[in-house]
C-alpha cells in the first residue's frame, strides 16, 4: 500500500461543517489556523448560497499554540452569539488545537447559559478521520439536543443525509418534498437542511429516512433514544429510484404509494424523453465514468446504466459511508470497474484506461476531463465552478429532465475544433 495519497475526500472538519452548515440558523466557528478557516469558507462561498455563508474563525494564532487558544475561542463564541444571533453555534476543533488538547467540550459546559444560542462543540482534527465520519458524528451529536414531546402525536418523516452544499440540493429537496407530499407523506425535519428548532423536533417524526445510507449513526442513536425506526432509501436519481424512494418510504409506514400519481409521473417522464428521443438514442451505450460520494454515486451509476443505457466503465467512490460495503457486494453491478476512495493518481490512470467520453464528477475532475477531452457533468461534491439558481433538481421525477439535458448539452455544446483528433 502506498504511503502517499492524493485524496478524493476531505477531513473530518469539513464533513462536520457540511452537516452543521445545513442548519440554516447555525453558525460554525473553525477553531484552527487560517488555512482551515479559509478553505471551509471558500467551500461554502463558491456555490449558489452566497447570501447564507455562516463560517467564522476563532482567530487561532501560532502564539496560542503555546499559551492555549481557549480564551480566543470563548471570545469568538460570544461574538458570534451577540453579533449574528444564531440559534446554534457549532465549534469545530481542528488539528492544531486537538493536538494541543484544547477542551472545547469543557468550554461548551462553561459557557452554557451565558450564550443565547446553543453550543455544539466537537473535535474534528484532520488526523482523526475522513469527512464522512465527521458528517456522521456531527449528526449524531445533534441527537442530544433533540426533544420528544409525548403530548404531540408523531407524524411525518425525517430525511437524513441531506447535504445542503451539494449542487442543486435546494432543487432536490423541493422535489423530494413534492413527491412525498403528493403521496400524503409530509416532511418533519431534514438533517441537515432545516432550522435548529426543526432539528430539535426531529423525534416527533414517524420514520427516519436515510438518503443513500448517509446518517446511519444518527438514525441508530435516535432509534435507541426515541424509539424512532429508520430505513435507508436510494438517492432518487431517475424513474426507477424515484418510484423506489416513494414505495419504500410508504411501505415502511404501512401505506401503499398512489399508483395513479406514479403513472402520471411516468407519463411526464415519457413526454420528456419524446421531446429529445433522438439524442436519448444517441447517448445509449456511451462510455462514461462516475466519481462521487457513496450516498449518491452508486444510485447515479445505476440510473445512467439501467435507464439511459450508458456504459459505466468506472465508478470511483470519492467518500464512503456505512452502507458502502453492502453496495459493493450488490448482486447486479451497474459498472465495469469499482474503486473505493482511490488515490487520485490511480483514479486518473483508470479514467484514462476506461475510454470514458463523459465524466460525472466534481470540479476537481475538471483537469482530467480536459486532458482526456471528455465532457464533465458536475454532480458530485464539491462543485465550486458551477452554480444553480433556477432550483432545478437532479433528484426525483423532475430531476430526470434536468440531468438528461445537462448530459446531452455537455456533448452538443462542445466545440469539435477544440477537441484534438
Amino acid at each position: 500500500m502506498s504511503t502517499i495519497y492524493d485524496p478524493l475526500f476531505d477531513c473530518k472538519m469539513v464533513g462536520a461543517l457540511r452537516a452543521m452548515h445545513g442548519i440554516n440558523d447555525c453558525i460554525s466557528i473553525i477553531h484552527g489556523r487560517n488555512g482551515c478557516h479559509c478553505g471551509a469558507l471558500l467551500l461554502q462561498t463558491l456555490g449558489s448560497e452566497q447570501n447564507s455563508v455562516r463560517v467564522l474563525t476563532s482567530g487561532l494564532k501560532a502564539s496560542d499554540e503555546v499559551y492555549s487558544g481557549e480564551e480566543r475561542l470563548s471570545s469568538a463564541i460570544r461574538l458570534a452569539d451577540q453579533v449574528f444571533e444564531p440559534k446554534a453555534i457549532a465549534v469545530l476543533n481542528c488539528s492544531a488545537p486537538v493536538i494541543m488538547g484544547e477542551d472545547v467540550e469543557g468550554l461548551e459546559l462553561l459557557l452554557e447559559g451565558e450564550t443565547r444560542s446553543e453550543l455544539v462543540a466537537m473535535d474534528v482534527g484532520g488526523p482523526e478521520g475522513p469527512a464522512w465520519i465527521g458528517y456522521e458524528e456531527a449528526l449524531t451529536k445533534l441527537v442530544s439536543r433533540m426533544r420528544l414531546n409525548e403530548d404531540v402525536p408523531r407524524g411525518g418523516i425525517n430525511l437524513l443525509g441531506f447535504k445542503a452544499d451539494d449542487l442543486c440540493s435546494r432543487g432536490d429537496l423541493n422535489e423530494m418534498k413534492r413527491i412525498l407530499r403528493d403521496q400524503g407523506l409530509p416532511l418533519n425535519s431534514v438533517l441537515c437542511g432545516s432550522s435548529f428548532e426543526e432539528v430539535k423536533k426531529a423525534p416527533q417524526a414517524e420514520l427516519n429516512v436515510l438518503l443513500g445510507g448517509d446518517g446511519l449513526d444518527c438514525a441508530k442513536a435516535m432509534e435507541e433514544e426515541f424509539d424512532l425506526p429508520y430505513i435507508s432509501v436510494p438517492y432518487p436519481y431517475g424513474l426507477k429510484k424515484s418510484v423506489q424512494f416513494v414505495e419504500m418510504i410508504g411501505g415502511a409506514l404501512g401505506r401503499e404509494a398512489d399508483p395513479q400519481i406514479l403513472e402520471m409521473e411516468r407519463e411526464r417522464v415519457k413526454r420528456t424523453v419524446e421531446r429529445a428521443h433522438m439524442f436519448f438514442q444517441g447517448i445509449y451505450s456511451m462510455p462514461v465514468a462516475v466519481v462521487g460520494e457513496s450516498g449518491r454515486a452508486f444510485d447515479l451509476a445505476e440510473f445512467l446504466s439501467s435507464e439511459l443505457g450508458m456504459d459505466v466503465k468506472l465508478l470511483a467512490i470519492s467518500s464512503s459511508n456505512f452502507a458502502t460495503p453492502e453496495k459493493m457486494t450488490a448482486k447486479e453491478a451497474h459498472y465495469q470497474k469499482l474503486m473505493i476512495e482511490p488515490d487520485r493518481w490511480d483514479m486518473n490512470r483508470a479514467l484514462e484506461a476506461s475510454g470514458a467520453a463523459l465524466i460525472f464528477g466534481s470540479s476537481f475532475e475538471k483537469r482530467i476531463a480536459s486532458e482526456l477531452q471528455a465532457s464533465l457533468v458536475r454532480v458530485s461534491y464539491p462543485v465550486i465552478d458551477e452554480i444553480s439558481l433556477s432550483d432545478l433538481p437532479f433528484a426525483g421525477f423532475s430531476g430526470i429532465a434536468h440531468l438528461c439535458e445537462k448530459i446531452i448539452n455537455s456533448i452538443l455544446t462542445r466545440n469539435k475544433d477544440e477537441v484534438k483528433a
Binding site: S2, T3, I4, Y5, D6, P7, L8, F9, D10, C11, K12, M13, V14, G32, R33, N34, G35, C36, H37, C38, G39, A40, L41, L42, T45, L46, N51, V53, L56, T57, S58, G59, E65, E71, R72, S74, S75, A76, R78, L79, A80, Q82, V83, C94, S95, A96, I99, M100, G125, G126, P127, E128, P130, A131, D343, R344, W345, S363, F364, R367
Partner: protein, 510 residues
C-alpha cells in the same frame, strides 16, 4: 523561461482568462474575511515551477481542501499528494513516512523537484523534517526541498516567500556556477506567471546591452530556477527574502522595482512610483548604474521616452481635463502621463493598518499629496469616507470617472458616474516601461466611451453602509474576522463591535 521564448506566449491574452479571474474578485478572501494559510502559498510556488511536485506532510484535509487556490480560484491545484497522517503518526511521529513518501512521489510522478510542505500537525508534533528529507534525497534522482513557514519571519505572503526561500537556500545557492556575465533575472510573483508583463522591460534592457538571464515565473522549470544563480542581478517586483539570500550567498545583486526605500532616503515624492515615463526612466537608469551601462542606457531611454511622449500627445487628447477620483496607491505618474485631472484622492487606511504603522500610513498620505501638488493636481483628499460622503464630494467636484473595481462599479454607475476598472491593466500590463502609459490611455478612453449603466440589478440588493462592497451579513463576517484576529484582541471587545461597523474596514475602491 528563456527570454527568447517570450514571443511564444499568447495564452494570457484570451479575454476569457481575465473574466475568469475577475468573476472571483468579489469573493472576500485575502485578509477581508479570510486569509489563506502557508500551505496554499507554498503550493502556488510548486505550481509555478512546471516540473515540481508538492508533497504535503499532513492529513488528507490539508491536501484535499488546499486544492482550492485562493490566488486563482478558477484553477485548482491539481496534484496534491500527502503523507496521509493519522492519529498513530501524531503519537509516534511521521519522519519515516515522509521519507518513504518522498521516494514514492519521485517514482510515481517523476518530478524534477519535490517541495515538501509541512502542516500544523507536523509542525506541532515536531518531526525532524530536515533529517527525513536528507535521508530521502539519497534515494531519489531530483532535489528535494522543504518549507515549514519558519524561514522568512513575517514576510508576506508567508507561504510563497518561505517556499521560494527554501528553494533558494536548499537548491539554487551552490558553489559551482558558471556565470552569465552582465545579465539580470526578471522576477514576478509566482501567482502572476505572466512574462509578457516583462516583455518591454526585457527589450529595453537588451537595447541597453544588459542581457536577460531568466524571466520568472512563466513556464518556469527547475532548471530555470537553478540558472537564476548565473545572473549578476535579480530584479524583483517587491521585497523577496530569497533574493536577499542569493545576494548574501551567491553575490547575485538584488533590486526591487517597488518599495519605499528610494523615497525614504531623500523624502522625494517623485521616487514613490517606478511606473510611468518618469518612474520608468529613473528605474532603468538605476539598473544601468548597477550594471555599469549608463552610457548605453542614456540614448535608449531618451529615444523611447521621446517616442512615447509623441504617441501620448495624440492618444490622450480627449482625456485632457477629465476629472478622475483615484485611490491612493495608484501611480500618479501614469495619470500625469495620460493627462487626466486627479480631482479626488480616496485613501482607505483600514486594511493598511494590519501591516503598517500609523506613522507609515500618514507618510503615504503626505507623500502622495506632495506628488499630486508637484504634478499640478489639486485633489480633495477623502480619508476613509462613507459611501455618501464620497458621492457628495464627487458630485461637488464634478468627477467624470471613478477608478473602481468592477465589483463596486454599480454603486457609482447608478448615480450616473462612470467607472474605470484598472484591475486587468495592473495584473497584466503595469510594469517598468513606456507602453503602460499608452495602454492606460486606451483603458481610460474606452471607459469614457462606454454606454452608461443605468439600472444595475445589483442595486436591488442591500449593501452594507460601511463596507459597501459587501452585504450587511458579509460585512459583519469580515468585521468579526478582523476583530478576532486583531493583535489587540481582548475578551469583551465584541461589546463595541457594532459601533465599529463602517470604520473598521472598508474595501471600497481598493
Amino acid at each position: 523561461m528563456n527570454p527568447e521564448e517570450l514571443d511564444l506566449i499568447s495564452r494570457d491574452e484570451a479575454p476569457i482568462l481575465d473574466t475568469m479571474r475577475r468573476i472571483y474578485s468579489a469573493v472576500p478572501v485575502h485578509h477581508l474575511a479570510a486569509i489563506h494559510g502557508k500551505i496554499v502559498g507554498a503550493l502556488a510556488v510548486a505550481d509555478a515551477i512546471v516540473d515540481a511536485l508538492p508533497l504535503i506532510h499532513g492529513p488528507v484535509g490539508c491536501a484535499f481542501q488546499r486544492k482550492l487556490n485562493p490566488f486563482n480560484l478558477s484553477s485548482t491545484f491539481y496534484d496534491t499528494p500527502c503523507t496521509n497522517l493519522n492519529n498513530v503518526d501524531v503519537v509516534y511521529g511521521a519522519e519515516e513516512k515522509l521519507c518513504k513518501g518522498v521516494v514514492e512521489a519521485y517514482e510515481r510522478y517523476s518530478p524534477r523537484l519535490i517541495i515538501v510542505i509541512t502542516t500544523c500537525t507536523t509542525d506541532l508534533i515536531g518531526d525532524d523534517i530536515e533529517a527525513a528529507v536528507e535521508k530521502a534525497m539519497e534515494m531519489v534522482g531530483c532535489p528535494v526541498v522543504y518549507s515549514t513557514g519558519d524561514f522568512v519571519g513575517r514576510s508576506r505572503p508567508v507561504g510563497i516567500q518561505d517556499a521560494l526561500y527554501a528553494v533558494a537556500d536548499q537548491m539554487i545557492c551552490r558553489n559551482e556556477v558558471e556565470k552569465n556575465e552582465g545579465s539580470v533575472n526578471l522576477i514576478n510573483s509566482p501567482t502572476q506567471r505572466n512574462a509578457l508583463k516583462f516583455q518591454e522591460m526585457a527589450r529595453l534592457l537588451t537595447q541597453m546591452e544588459i542581457k536577460i538571464n531568466k524571466i520568472c515565473f512563466d513556464h518556469t522549470t527547475t532548471e530555470d530556477m537553478m540558472d537564476l544563480a548565473r545572473a549578476d542581478l535579480n530584479i524583483t517586483g517587491y521585497r523577496m527574502p530569497w533574493a536577499e539570500l542569493m545576494k548574501e550567498k551567491m553575490n547575485v545583486d538584488y533590486c526591487k522595482i517597488t518599495g519605499w526605500d528610494r523615497y525614504n532616503k531623500k523624502k522625494d515624492p517623485e521616487l514613490i512610483s517606478p511606473y510611468g515615463i518618469a518612474g520608468s526612466c529613473r528605474f532603468l537608469e538605476e539598473i544601468a548604474r548597477i550594471m555599469g551601462r549608463e552610457g548605453e542606457a542614456e540614448p535608449v531611454i531618451k529615444k523611447n521616452r521621446t517616442a512615447t511622449e509623441a504617441r501620448l500627445e495624440a492618444a490622450s487628447k480627449e482625456l485632457k481635463g477629465v476629472k478622475v477620483a483615484v485611490p491612493v496607491g495608484f501611480s500618479l505618474n501614469l495619470l500625469k502621463d495620460i493627462g487626466v485631472d486627479v480631482a479626488a484622492l480616496v485613501y482607505r487606511t483600514q486594511t493598511l493598518s494590519h501591516g503598517l504603522t500609523e506613522r507609515a500610513v500618514r507618510e503615504i498620505e503626505r507623500a502622495n499629496l506632495s506628488l499630486a501638488e508637484l504634478y499640478g493636481f489639486h485633489p480633495e483628499l477623502l480619508v476613509n469616507p462613507t459611501p455618501d460622503e464620497e458621492l457628495k464630494t464627487f458630485r461637488k467636484l464634478q468627477v467624470d470617472l471613478v477608478m473602481a473595481p468592477a465589483k463596486i462599479a454599480h454603486f457609482y454607475n447608478r448615480e450616473g458616474i462612470r467607472t474605470v476598472d484598472v484591475g486587468d491593466f495592473t495584473q497584466k500590463k503595469l510594469n517598468v516601461g513606456f507602453l503602460p502609459s499608452i495602454e492606460l490611455c486606451r483603458v481610460f478612453r474606452e471607459a469614457l466611451g462606454k454606454a452608461k449603466v443605468r439600472s444595475p440589478l445589483l442595486d436591488l440588493m442591500e449593501f452594507d453602509g460601511g463596507i459597501s462592497n459587501l452585504t450587511p451579513h458579509w460585512a459583519k463576517t469580515a468585521l468579526s474576522f478582523h476583530h478576532l484576529r486583531s493583535k489587540n484582541f481582548r475578551d469583551g471587545y465584541y461589546y463595541h463591535f457594532q459601533g465599529l461597523a463602517g470604520v473598521e474596514l472598508n474595501e471600497h475602491n481598493i
